[in-house]
């Protein structure tokens, strides 16, 4: 089954304004750089973006914010982005802050076909406001729902033409969860190979979850906090 599309522009061309998108990555690590650039070129707007972070001013989802393409962000942490802050404070941008583990688990629930899950995080805080609380074994849990995401856009290290994906190091993060959660999932990979070249024992996301795949190009892979030690 061949799911290969020509490139990022081809992969995202039917995403309409107003769509709900999941975008993989943690900070700038493992973000779908090629697709974000293509979304900026496509010029659609009023998007709801589910992503752990919102990029920085001039990279990642920050590029879409600059073009005012995002109506709402659903994230766990949105610092490091002055344009984001400006749009949030002026009310141009709606923001829903979700605890990181809750965000990940809601993505997981979506991919596993579960409408909702009971989670501990945020009980007794404003995160729980308006949500059903239920006690299990003496502890209070909040009912958190799965997402309804039209498209999931992820970045993998390697993939094959059938859509099977392998991630690298901590660039895995939200990517496999979101890959499983899109009604249509688009995967950009650093290396696209033929079926049979990936060991089936070491595939993180089965291709059944992936509808479109392409080999990305010119990855910048920007580092947000370069921390090093000196030899000796």
């Amino acid at each position: 089954m061949n799911k290969v599309v020509a490139g990022a522009d081809e992969a995202v061309k039917d995403i309409p304004s107003g769509a709900t998108l999941m975008l993989g990555g943690f900070g700038l690590c493992g973000i779908p750089e090629n697709c974000i650039a293509a979304l900026v070129r496509l010029g659609i707007n009023s998007l709801t973006c589910i992503s752990n972070n919102a990029g920085v001013d001039d990279f990642g989802i920050g590029l879409m914010l600059q073009k005012r393409q995002v109506k709402k962000m659903i994230s766990s942490y949105v610092g490091e982005n002055a344009e984001f802050e400006r749009q949030m404070l002026t009310g141009e941008l709606e923001v829903e802050l979700v605890p990181q583990g809750t965000l990940a688990t809601r993505c997981m629930a979506t991919g596993y076909g579960m409408p909702a899950v009971y989670l501990l995080a945020g009980y007794g805080t404003e995160v729980a406001e308006g949500k059903e609380v239920r006690n299990f074994n003496g502890k209070n849990y909040i009912l958190e729902t799965a997402f309804n995401s039209d498209f999931a856009i992820v970045k993998a290290w390697k993939g094959d033409t059938s859509g099977n994906l392998i991630f690298r190091d901590t660039a895995r993060n939200f990517n496999p969860l979101m890959a499983m959660a899109g009604k249509i999932t688009i995967a950009e990979v650093e290396e696209l190979v033929q079926p049979g070249e990936l060991d089936p024992n070491f595939i993180h996301v089965p291709g059944i979850y992936v509808q479109r795949i392409f080999q990305g190009e010119n990855y910048e892979k920007r580092i947000e906090q370069r921390t090093v030690r000196k030899r000796n």
Binding site: S76, T125, L177, Q225
Partner: protein, 218 residues
């Protein structure tokens, strides 16, 4: 002399036990990794998807795909493993992570914590803090005893929006070490040169002094 940040981290490192899986938050908690006692084997968890976090890489060896939850470039130690964010919080939620160390803006004498939001200021988000405090088996807060205005951060009730309720077990500040008990904060150790009177004056929440209170060995 009140403890400096390194000394707070060093004191917390003594809470680490052989075989612990530990999650260290951003700031002072990160420094705890520098003071793991000799002969104590702990595995550091980074909630973006890694067990077995190592030190910062040597110059020129940094890798954009390998970062910690503070988005800093890091390395791995032998035996490390990567996983997705749901599994990462799954192991936290199911009690497999033995100890979490994190910073706070306020801690209440019943173990409530506030560390993510100041009304009127830009809200950056809670990240993984709410998940960690709700679920971790044992949580130690590392923070200054007072805020820059000199007001106590150990309170009868948190004034800022909560991160978690009744979850903190121990607080290590520049002035001392405090267990959270049904009677509020219990001072079990004080920093060298810091008096119990000073601790009493700077603790707004309920405070008892342990009969076995002693000076922190720095």
């Amino acid at each position: 002399m009140a403890l400096n940040k390194e000394q707070i981290a060093k004191r917390i490192a003594r809470e680490l036990q052989d075989g612990f899986y530990v999650n260290l938050g951003i700031g002072i908690p990160t420094l705890v990794a520098n003071y793991i006692p000799e002969g104590v084997d702990v595995v550091l968890q980074s909630e973006n998807g890694l067990l077995g976090m190592g030190p910062f890489p040597f110059e020129g060896e940094e890798d954009a795909d390998l970062i910690n939850a503070g988005k800093q470039t890091i390395t791995t130690v032998p035996g490390s493993v990567f996983f997705d964010s749901a599994m990462s919080f799954g192991m936290i939620r199911s009690g497999k992570v033995d100890l979490t160390v994190l910073g706070a803006m306020e801690v209440a004498d019943n173990g409530d914590i506030a560390n993510w939001k100041i009304p009127g200021k830009m809200v950056k988000g809670m990240g993984g803090a709410m998940d960690l405090v709700a679920a971790a088996k044992n949580i130690i807060v590392a923070m200054q005893h007072t805020n820059p205005k000199g007001e106590s951060k150990l309170l009868p009730n948190c004034t800022l929006p909560l991160t978690g309720v009744g979850c903190i077990k121990k607080v290590v500040t520049d002035l001392g070490v405090f267990d959270i008990t049904p009677d509020g904060f219990c001072c079990i150790e004080y920093a060298p040169g810091v008096t119990i009177d000073e601790i009493k004056a700077k603790t707004a929440g309920r405070l008892t002094i342990s009969p076995n209170v002693k000076e922190i060995a720095v």
